[in-house]
């Protein structure tokens, strides 16, 4: 298993080195066989460039460090761009249920900070969301929280799309009248 090449991803190796990588789940898993218990390490790594790009990957190997590396490579291959309002928060309050985990992501004003569950916090750091209030209801299983948050960020409805669907015009009052950046 080698590290990712420049030919396998659109990112340059310099950009890949600059990505923010956070291993959120590292645990010892066991496969029961006829030969007995076969332990291995499982890792879930979240990767992001703090500017909208983020992705997660899972990897398994005998050694923890190699599992983390496998997971990081898969995460880099799974990078996806997420829309942010003002490059700092989500567009709307989102509620997303994934299996037994419900994730609430609430948009907050500038300067509020990243006040959420530790897993949501890391993911939002990687995406580049600075002002958000996040809460997990139901199961707190870390793997499912990660997947729920990514699904929630994926299924955002942008105000421009809503305006197009309803046949209305959108105006961002903060930007136009109050000169927000």
């Amino acid at each position: 298993m080698e590290d990712l090449d420049e030919s396998q991803t659109p990112l340059t190796s310099w950009e890949m080195a600059r990505l923010l990588k956070k291993s959120l789940v590292v645990k010892r898993v066991v496969n029961m066989n006829g030969k007995g218990k076969q332990p291995s390490m499982y890792a879930l790594v979240v990767v992001g460039n703090e500017n909208g790009l983020a992705g997660y990957g899972e990897g398994k190997d005998e050694e923890a460090s190699r599992a983390v590396r496998k997971a990081t490579n898969r995460a880099i291959k799974n990078l996806k761009y997420f829309e942010r309002y003002d490059d700092r928060t989500v567009y709307m309050d989102i509620e997303k249920k994934f299996h037994a985990t419900t994730v609430f992501l609430r948009s907050r004003p500038p300067g509020f900070g990243n006040r959420s569950n530790h897993i949501i916090h890391e993911i939002c750091c990687c995406v580049g969301i600075h002002d958000i209030s996040g809460k997990v209801i139901g199961s707190h299983n870390p793997m499912n929280v990660v997947k729920a948050t990514f699904e929630a960020l994926n299924h955002q409805r942008l105000p421009e799309d809503i305006a197009k669907m309803r046949g209305k015009k959108v105006l961002d009052v903060q930007h136009v009248y109050y000169g927000a950046q």
Partner: protein, 125 residues
């Protein structure tokens, strides 16, 4: 009241059309509602979809028979500007609320313009 709510949804762009009609089909020409045909009267709404997604995704009651919620204009203003009022979640971008006021059933912004409080019926997004 149902017709008024449907009209508000139509004007806000959530549905394509509203028509009064039979249980079989919408009316071709105007038929007044009389005690004879009142049981067969229905409202026909044409739903809107775009990119495989519905335009009207969620519609829920705010004021229920078990718990009626009446808003003053100040509370409506706070709900619209993103703060909660009286245990009612604030409005999100692209969401509307329908209020029953003394001027009739109006959308929340129109009710605020007329300075009329009232029973908050439902929310739609």
């Amino acid at each position: 009241m149902n017709l008024a709510v449907s009209n508000i949804l139509y004007h806000q762009g959530f549905i394509s059309s509203v028509a009064r009609g039979n249980y079989k089909a919408p009316d071709e020409e105007y038929t007044p509602t009389t005690p004879d045909n009142i049981a067969t009267r229905r409202l026909w709404l044409t739903l809107k979809y775009r990119d495989n997604e519905p335009v009207l995704t969620k519609m829920s009651c705010i004021s229920k028979p078990s718990k009626k919620i009446t808003f003053t204009v100040t509370e409506m203003k706070s709900m619209v500007s993103g703060r909660r009022a009286k245990f009612v979640e604030p409005l999100q971008p692209g969401e509307i609320a329908i209020v029953s006021t003394n001027y009739g059933v109006l959308e929340i912004h129109d009710a605020m313009a007329k300075n009329a409080g009232g029973l908050v019926l439902c929310r739609a997004r």
